[in-house]
């Protein structure tokens, strides 16, 4: 119990170790309008000079009541809404939702649909990581990587646009498979993208990995141990950077991830630099998966036999996937009607954000920015 209480986070105003000047305790309100809080996060910082004594996150500025909306929409109608949660990884959200409902219906998407799903989801993972890298580097003060990553992310968005007409909130998948057959030249586009982006990833690394200032700013900053990660429920690259080789794609494979050959990149020290390295490696692994998938994509139907009106039998199901940010879970309770009786989203950003307080205690203000960046939160998902 004491081990767990080590990771308890709450802002205790009025106490804390004091170092330089007692009188200099400063409460600073970072956000909700602040350039580095990635949206509308408000962090109340208690500072001793530049040292952070504690933080308190105030969230909910972007709360739209997604879970309440779900209870008033049919399963099909709710599908586009999930794209609006983690809007930089909309495809992953859609995949998780569609698979959860499929699981509730006890159907399985056909193989070709699964391949398309995997390709798009992994492309989306790369684009999400690219966006993260750009903004994270910008937070730390390197402005140039942002433009490089946005240039390359554009290619992914072009593929999405060609495939389903939307760039960001794609709504690419349907319950039971995919709505659209791949367009003419899809494989060629994806392959050429893989060849295009692989050297670009090297380029990002060239700019940052060995940059002394970058290393100094990220090494040893926001360290979260494996035990801390597990206790705080932190998943995704953050957990893997702490040395836990855990990825739902391997641990409990969904779609057809078990058919692909890829590795789970891990690092040991769990600091910001390691999380950066893990994400860079993940981009390469995603490319590897995409390459295999696009080679082996079979012919066949893209939709399973799904009734016109989706009425899952009564029951409840929890399904989770490995979103770019961590474990994204959908817990759906069905009462046998066309609308979910209760739909709960387990957002990775929300849970990961909880670790912020622990990660920044005793560090400097500049590190708060780095840690918010490295947690890779999307406020649309935190607040839902």
């Amino acid at each position: 119990m004491s081990e767990a209480s080590k990771y308890l986070s709450q802002l205790q105003v009025g106490e804390g170790e004091q170092t330089f000047l007692d009188s200099n305790e400063l409460i600073i309100n970072m956000g909700p309008q602040h350039p580095a809080t990635h949206g509308v996060l408000r962090v109340i910082l208690k500072l001793d000079g530049e040292k952070v004594l504690g933080t308190e996150c105030v969230i909910g500025y972007l709360h739209r009541g997604v879970e309440k909306i779900a209870e008033n929409r049919t399963y099909t109608m709710f599908n586009p809404y999930v794209d609006r949660m983690d809007y930089v990884a909309a495809v992953s959200n859609g995949l998780g939702y569609c698979q959860a409902v499929e699981r509730l219906l006890n159907i399985e998407a056909p193989p070709r649909a699964n391949y398309i799903r995997v390709i798009l989801t992994e492309l989306n993972r790369i684009s999400s990581h690219q966006l993260w890298l750009g903004t994270h580097a910008l937070d730390i003060g390197a402005i140039t990587p942002l433009f490089y990553t946005f240039r390359d992310r554009e290619e992914i968005l072009k593929i999405f646009e060609k495939y389903c007409g939307a760039r960001l909130t794609t709504h690419a998948f349907r319950i039971g498979g995919c709505q659209y057959e791949t367009y003419e030249g899809f494989e060629r586009d994806v392959k050429s993208f893989c060849n295009f982006v692989a050297p670009k990833i090297e380029e990002y690394e060239e700019l940052l990995t060995t940059n002394r200032i970058w290393v100094e700013r990220t090494k040893g900053v926001g360290v979260l141990s494996a035990a801390g990660c597990k206790a705080l429920g932190v998943t995704g690259p953050v957990l893997r950077a702490s040395g836990v080789k855990w990825d739902i794609r391997k641990a409990q494979p969904y779609a057809n991830y078990s058919e692909f050959d890829f590795e789970i990149p891990t690092r040991q020290s769990g600091d910001t630099y390691d999380r950066y390295m893990v994400r860079m490696a993940e981009m390469r692994q995603s490319l590897r998966i995409i390459r295999q998938a696009v080679e082996r994509i079979p012919e066949g139907p893209i939709m399973a036999k799904v009734p016109k009106v989706i009425k899952p039998p009564p029951g409840e199901v929890y399904h989770s996937i490995e979103a770019p940010k961590g474990e994204l879970g959908y817990f759906i309770v069905s009462d046998g009607s066309t609308q979910p009786y209760r739909l709960r989203v387990r957002p990775p950003s929300f849970v990961n954000l909880q670790a912020l307080d622990l990660m920044v205690r005793g560090q400097l203000v500049a590190d708060v920015i780095a840690v918010i960046g490295t947690l890779d939160i999307v406020l649309g998902e935190v607040d839902r």
């Binding site: 400063l26 910008l138 433009f147």
Partner: protein
């Protein structure tokens, strides 16, 4: 009156030294105007260069290739609402930007653009420059304090600590350059020439010493001069609060640091001060280590032919720039939407070419040459500033202090001692 004005034309002293008030005021005016234009040009150049480093185009809409963008910005800033936060200290809030601007501009009194092209030549020239440029921090600190807001306050606390710390390393690096004015050395490093014998703090004296010793101080006592120059060029970036040391205005942490609460014209004063300070410290670096106004190889490549060749540089650079602008004008899309832009660009090119032709006229080209070389060297440093900004992430405060106190200061001290030792023996 008129004779005192015309007689100065043949003088070989600065107007300040000659006691010629008319020319001194004219010089001050010229420097003020030139600095304003330089800041405007720098604004445009920074945006363009940074944009091209970041695979984008930068300003393209206002004027051809965004040439009029800085003017549009200036207009926008002038007509913007001037906001003063509630409970701000009105007087100090009003004064702070003025202090920074004054400090940044006053330094240019002693900057030598040529052997006679300086407002005055002070005996304590470099000391004066360092001292006055260090007054800029007062403006920043008071700005942050007067805003009555947390972010600016943290910004100014950071900046006061940062600027005071880096001044030390900067000063030591400068001292080692000053030391070189009097040291010739006899061993491997000896230049074998006679200098003025005693050292000097005067900016003009320092450049003259480099001419007499036939070496830029950056390369004197290799590598000691380079080390001191390196220390200075790191410290000067920190002194001017530029990336990667832009902590006082780190936009991702402190929104805009000490000038968060400033808007419109007051903010633009800070902007002006920042860029003037950049130019000022670059001028110090150029004067101390890169031979100031001296053209390349002033001692080796002598003779009428070389003199003529080097004196043609200013004119031909302007001609080249004009040709570039004309070429871009020719490559503009032929569409009536771009008509005005094309004409504007061509006109700009023609103007540059005209200036270039003017600078080829013999009496002018000899007078302008020094200024040209000085500005060209400063421009290299300004480019470095932009380059840093495009490349480096920002330092954290403790790392910044560590770099200042644990790396730069010992390095500068060691270089200073080594310079003294090498110079004497």
């Amino acid at each position: 009156m008129l004779t005192s004005i015309t007689s100065y034309l043949h003088s070989n002293e600065t107007p300040g030294a000659a006691g010629n008030m008319f020319w001194a005021l004219l010089y001050i005016l010229a420097i003020f105007l030139g600095l304003s234009i330089a800041v405007i040009a720098m604004n445009w150049l920074e945006r363009k260069v940074l944009a091209h480093m970041q695979v984008r185009l930068g300003p393209m809409r206002v004027g051809p290739h965004g040439l009029l963008q800085p003017i549009a910005d200036a207009l926008k800033l002038l007509i913007k609402e001037d906001i003063m936060p509630a409970h701000a200290d009105r007087l100090v809030f009003w004064m702070a930007p003025l202090i920074t601007v004054l400090a940044a501009f006053t330094t240019f009194i002693v900057v030598p653009f040529g052997p006679t092209h300086a407002v005055t030549d002070m005996n304590i020239g470099i000391l004066f420059m360092l001292g006055v440029s260090s007054l800029g921090v007062l403006g920043i600190v008071t700005a942050g304090w007067a805003s009555n807001s947390h972010y600016p306050l943290i910004g100014s606390l950071r900046s006061s600590a940062q600027m005071v710390s880096y001044e030390v390393a900067m000063g030591l690096a400068v001292v080692s350059a000053v030391l070189m004015t009097s040291l010739h050395g006899t061993g491997v490093y000896g230049t074998g020439t006679t200098g003025s014998g005693t050292g000097t703090l005067s900016m003009i004296g320092i450049v003259k010493a480099q001419y007499d010793q036939q070496i830029w101080f950056a390369f004197k006592f290799f590598p000691l001069g380079l080390i001191a120059m390196f220390v200075f060029s790191v410290a000067m970036v920190a002194e001017t609060n530029r990336a990667p040391f832009d902590l006082p205005e780190a936009e991702s942490e402190l929104t805009a640091g000490f000038h968060t609460e400033y808007s419109g014209f007051r903010w633009s004063l800070f902007f002006l001060a920042e860029y003037s300070a950049m130019i000022a410290v670059s001028s110090i670096a150029v004067t101390l280590w890169f031979g100031g106004w001296l053209r390349p190889f002033p001692n080796a490549l002598t003779g009428a032919t070389w003199d003529l060749l080097f004196s043609l540089f200013p004119g031909f650079s302007f001609l080249g720039l004009g040709a570039l602008a004309l070429l871009s004008a020719m490559r503009m899309p032929r569409h009536r939407m771009f008509k005005i832009q094309t004409i504007g660009l061509a006109g700009f090119g023609a103007l540059l070419a005209l200036i270039g032709l003017g600078l080829l006229v013999p009496p002018l080209r000899d007078r302008v040459q020094d200024i040209y070389w000085f500005v060209a060297k400063v421009a290299v440093f300004m480019y470095l500033y932009i380059w840093y900004r495009g490349t480096f992430p920002r330092y954290r405060f403790d790392q910044l202090m560590m770099v200042g106190w644990k790396i730069l200061l010992p390095t500068a001290l060691a270089a200073l001692i080594a310079t003294a030792v090498v110079g004497v023996f």
